[in-house]
């Protein structure tokens, strides 16, 4: 399976994917990394892993669709089958989604449908939840509203601030994201539409839920 990873920043989720490929936990190849920002750490990570990368500055395009059209061109040029948004800070349009139907995935640092959009960890802390987490989901036209592929839960502690919660959730993201990509690689993911037109995800013989272990909780 050939993966294209879209990034905007430090790329720690990209690194987790590259490490999983290296360790053969993820039977896939990162065919290209596309960044909408020059000079970001994610590009270094790609380079160190020997993965080709492209910088497409969204400022050079008239609108989102024109930018996405160029992204699609780059992905297709590398025969990408699955598009992974890994800290990609741009809203994607139908131009990208229609080019890769049901094959654009994102990770979001909350247990969706709670706390979509920006600052999910801050939203969670302000809501006073006891359990937070992250969600890998298909990308659709909405804000973090696509079908849920998998979720991981973590405890929230009285001593948490946004940074400590972000780090705890991020550790789960780094585990969960490569795992879900491996499900795609193994052909375990089936996507159906229900009577109401909502997409439903079925993952053969795998649990889509994981929980930070008691040991993780004690460590924090």
């Amino acid at each position: 399976m050939r993966i294209g990873v879209l990034v905007s920043g430090s790329g720690t989720n990209l690194q987790a994917i590259l490490d999983a490929v290296r360790d053969r936990d993820l039977h896939a190849q990162v065919a290209v990394v596309v960044s909408n920002k020059p000079g970001v750490k994610a590009l270094e990570r790609a380079s160190e892993a020997g993965v080709p990368s492209v910088v497409l500055s969204h400022k050079d395009f008239a609108n989102r669709e024109a930018f996405d059209a160029e992204v699609v061109r780059e992905l297709r040029a590398r025969d990408v089958e699955l598009v992974v948004l890994a800290g990609f800070m741009r809203i994607v349009t139908a131009t990208l989604l229609d080019a890769f139907p049901d094959r654009v995935v994102n990770i979001h640092p909350s247990l969706l449908p709670s706390f979509p959009g920006v600052d999910a960890q801050g939203q969670a802390l302000r809501a006073g939840v006891a359990i937070a987490g992250c969600t890998v989901h298909l990308v659709d036209g909405g804000m973090d509203s696509g079908a849920i592929l998998a979720q991981a839960a973590v405890p929230v502690f009285a001593t948490d601030d946004e940074e400590s919660l972000r780090v705890r959730i991020l550790a789960q993201e780094h585990r969960l994201f490569p795992q879900v990509l491996q499900w795609f690689a193994e052909g375990l993911v089936r996507i159906e539409q229900d009577a109401a037109g909502h997409k439903r995800v079925h993952v053969a013989s795998e649990s889509r839920a994981t929980f930070a272990s008691a040991i993780d909780a004690v460590e924090s």
Copy 2:
């Protein structure tokens, strides 16, 4: 600590509380059970545990406030300090809440703020979440919107229907609810108001998050 439990139906959460009192896991006394429906199983459970009960049919009262005023009278007559809604299917008013400030607690079968209101399990299944759960929270004037005391998470499986998910969550409710009541009994719960006027819960030296164990997950 003297607890008053409000019920409307079978009262399995009441039973979990009564069992925890009997087993000395909960250092409290159920002083009275109030049901808004005659003949429900919860009243049998109270009777079997030697706990006095009262039936107040909401149909006998002109409005919610008049009903709640009578509930308050019954609770005060038994020197109740903490009011527990255990499957109580009535919206409570300021008449009750003002009589027991920050001392009315409820359990809801979702990881709030996701899926408030009725049919939380159905809402969760329709949203396609991988992780569901339950929440013990303070009751305020809103719909399942009060400050969160504790949460428990469970996995959702591809084979789940509303009943199987309800049962899995209920097992966690029966564990979580007595535990939170024990925190109140031990004086571990502190409730503060933040700058924005939102109530925040602090529980001394306890994690407010629990997860169904991997064994639970495999069993299901």
